[in-house]
Amino acid sequence: MDAPEPLEDETRTYPGARRPDRQRRVDANGIGIAVYEWGDPRARPVLLTHGGFDFAATFDLLAPLLADAGLRVVAWDQRGHGSSDHAALYAFEADVRDAAIVLDSISPEPIDVVGHSKGGSVLMQLANALPHRVRSLVNLDGVPSGRNVPDIPDHQRTKLMADDLTARLDHRRRVATLQRKPGTIAELAERRSRMNPRLDRAWLEYLVTIGARRDPDGWRWRIDPAMQMGGFGPWRPEWALMRLPDLGMPVLAVLGLEPELMGWGTRPEDVEPHLPPDGRVVALDHVGHFVHIEQPRLIADLILEHLERAS
C-alpha cells in the first residue's frame, strides 16, 4: 500500500467565479443530465451550452454576470461530461436532442441561447430544427472552418487515417475497463492545461474541484474515459457552417483570434459570407478559444447587448 497522502487543502475559489444557485436533473431518455441555474427563476431565461471536454462550471465566471444583469441563466453538462450520466453512445445528434430536452425543461417560449465551441454548433443545429423555440443565438468561438486541417498529400492522409482508425478501434477494445488516472488537484490542473494553455492555473484548479471527484486514491476527472478528442466519423466543418445562413433569429458569432489547439482558427472572413440576414461577427484580438473565461465581462456585455437587440 502507498503511504497516505499528506493532507491537502481541497477547497478552491477563483475571483469572480460563483457556483449556481440551483441544481436539478432532467431525464434524457434514460440518461440523467445535470442542469444548473443562476439568478431569478422568473427572469428572462438564457441557455448556456459548453464545448467538448468541458462542463457547465466553465461558465462560473460568465453566468453570474448575466444573472446579476437580471437574467435566469441555465447551463447543463452534456452526456458523459461533468456530473451528467455516462452513456454507451455519444453522437452530435444525440447532444442536439439532449439540448432540446433541457430547453423543454426551461420554458415553452422561445429563449436566448449561447454556446461555446462545439456547444455553438449544437445550438446552431437546434435553432435550425426548432426555430420557434430560439429567440436569439450567440456562438462563442464555435463557428468551424477548415483552417486547422493540415494541407498534406493524399497518400499521406490515407496513411494517417489508417493509423487513426487503428488507434480508435484499439481504444474501443479497452473502453469497458478504462478508468481515469488519479492525481492531486495540481496534477489534474496540469493535465488540463495542455488543452487550456492560456488559462490561469488557479482557475484550472478551481475547475478540478467541480469537474473531478475525490476517490480514496486521488482526484479523477468525471468525464467518461470512453470519449476521445475529435469525431469518429465523416463530420466536416462545412456541415456546421451550412447551418448558419438558414438561421432566422438574431445571431452573434464571436471569434477569439489567438490560435489554440482546441479552437478552429476561424477568421471573420470565413464567417461573413455565411452570416444570416440578422447576423454579425465580432472578432477579438489577443483572446484565445475560451473567450468567456479569458474575458467574462466583455463577453457578458456583448451577450447583453445582443439580447437587447433581440427584445
Binding site: N29, A87, A88, L89, A91, L169, G233
Partner: protein, 221 residues
Amino acid sequence: MSAPVLRLQHGRVSLALHQRRDGEGRPLLLLHGLGERTPDAVPEPLAAWPGPVVGLDLTGHGASDVPAGGGYYCEALMGDVDAALAHLGPCTIHGRGLGAYVGLLIAGARPALVRGAILADGPGLAGGGPTPPSPAVVTSLGSSPSRATPDPWAMLELSRDVRPPDYAATYARLASVNSGLDVAVAVVGVNRPPWLEAVVQEPGVVACSLPEALDRFAAVD
C-alpha cells in the same frame, strides 16, 4: 434447442454473437441490415461458404443490448464488429444494407482481419444520404421500458447519418491497399446509393454475383 450464443462486451454494450454453422477454416461473419437480426439459420444463398458461419447482432438489434438514450453512428457499430473480430480472428464479411456499409468500414480499418467484404442489398443501405439532411429533433419516441429490439433510436438515427461518397471510397482504398488482396470488396447488390457508387469505382473493388464473391473469398488465405 437454440443455437449457441456468445456474449461479447463493447464498452457498455453486451453483444450477441451467434454460431450458425460449425466448420473448419475462416468464418463467414454475417452483418444484418437496419432493424434486422442474425437469421436463425444459414440463408440458402450463403450455404456454399465452405467454413463456419457466424452472425453478429449489432448494438440495439436482436439479442444485443439496447443502450439508454440512443446516439447511434456507424463507426460505433464498426466497433461492434471489431469486438467480434477480436474474438474470432480473421473473417470474411457478408453485410446487408446497414451491415454492408459497416462491413466496408471495418474492412478498411482492420485490413488484416477482414479477408474480403461482400456488400449486399438490405435495409439501411443508403443511410441519410451523401450530405446532411434537414435538421430535425425528436425528443421522445415513447419507447417501452422493456428495451425491445430493434431500438427505435437506432432506426431513426441510422437512417439519417451522412455517408459521403469520398469518405466511403477512402475505406475501400484502405481495404485494398492494406489487405494485400487483389480484390478486397465485392459488391453483389443492385442498389447503388452515392457512397456505394463511389466505392465500386475504386481499384480492388468488383461488382459480381454472390456465388462468385463467395468463391473468390473462400479461395484467399
